[in-house]
């Protein structure tokens, strides 16, 4: 075993892991919040708002995340908007997550039988009340498994941040191997396992919940 491996792994864990978690977690929050807002907007069935939200979702889901991240980090400064590395990564990942989140929320809301909201309306409740007290509480349960799958994708995609210089797990590995290329093998295997240890429990929980809901 290469003696440089353990000190290098320590640095990867101490410096890289918190950054990966920070970028992933902040992006998850934006994805959930943005998804809820835009998903509920879709439920308004307002043609003009629908068109805007659909365009946002289709464009962000249609371009590779890496291109979006490069655009935020390298492209926006040309338009006068400068963001440091970590915020750029979170903005790109968060906007991408929110587009996917919108589809999850919309799907869950429309999967609730229309009799539910008709019954609410018959009780004299307004649209907002029907949404917040009848539809959303039921829809929220159905959103949990797909949101957890999205979280797995977000943790995986947070590794793209390394390509704009964010010092996450992958970037610290890249720095460590500069002097010793033989470290690539053990360090990459190590971070693969770290990503797996974060994601596998989320995947399993998501599959279990989905089985229980159906």
């Amino acid at each position: 075993m290469n003696p440089a491996y353990f000190p290098a792994l320590r640095d990867v864990l101490v410096h890289g892991l918190p950054v990966t978690i920070e970028v992933s977690f902040a992006s998850m929050l934006i994805a959930v919040a943005g998804g809820l807002v835009l998903g509920v907007v879709r439920a308004l069935r307002n043609p003009a708002l629908d068109a805007i939200v659909i365009a946002y979702v289709e464009v962000l889901r249609g371009i590779p995340l890496l291109v979006l991240m490069f655009f935020v980090f390298f492209g926006l400064p040309q338009l006068g908007l400068h963001f440091p590395e970590i915020p750029s990564a979170i903005i790109a990942l968060g906007l991408w997550g929110a587009a996917n989140g919108t589809e999850i929320v919309r799907g869950a809301i429309f999967s609730i039988a229309s009799g539910q909201s008709e019954a609410g309306a018959a009780l004299g409740l307004g649209w907002l009340q029907v949404m917040t007290t009848i539809v959303l509480p039921q829809a929220l349960r159905r959103m949990i498994p797909p949101f957890m799958s999205l979280f797995v994708s977000i943790v995986e995609s947070s590794s793209l941040a390394a390509l704009i210089g964010v010092r996450d797990l992958l970037e610290i590995v890249r720095i460590k191997v500069e002097n010793d290329a033989t470290l690539w093998l053990p360090l990459l295997i190590s971070i693969l396992f770290i990503y797996f240890l974060i994601n596998y429990p989320i995947s399993i929980a998501s599959q279990r919940l989905e089985k229980r809901l159906t």
């Binding site: 490069f70 655009f71 390298f74 492209g75 926006l76 040309q78 992958l170 990459l188 990503y195």
Partner: protein, 187 residues
Amino acid sequence: MLLVGIVGAAMRTSKSAPARGFATAFAEFFRNTPPLVHIFFAYFALPVVGIKLPAFVAGTLALVFYQGAIAIEILRAGIEAVPKGQFEAASALGLSGFEQFRSIVMPQAFRISLPALGNNLISLLKNTSLISAIGAIEITGVANDIIAIRLTSAELYLTIGGFYLVLVFILSGILRSTEARLARYGT
């Protein structure tokens, strides 16, 4: 990717415990780890043990493993959705295990899985951009080279985004019409 998915799903649903265990471990590991790290592994780590692959081959191989792992899970769900009676009827006709899988189970499972497989194909198309990180010549990689020379990145990334968007729309159009054509045969 499709080949990995079909072989993996067959193993994943087979009666043999080692085959099932291997396919499950493969699918769960690759599905839950970042494709960018797989690409780095194939290109930078494999040479350490004497396997040197060109950037394009390494990148493609890594993506086939990642998207293939997802395809395994999609096709497994499809196979499990094929009604039990179909398997029983096939054995009653005296078909061997392989014949059952090839001519009875797989065609039905494939149709059930088609929408999800289509999304996986679109995701593969977008993930090809990750190969640029190790320098294979591909749309994003070419853009990075151009930027390095001319330094006008905003327009370029918008253009590249537009290229991908058009490719994705064309691909999803083809997938939708394929689904519609298959739906005509009913279930």
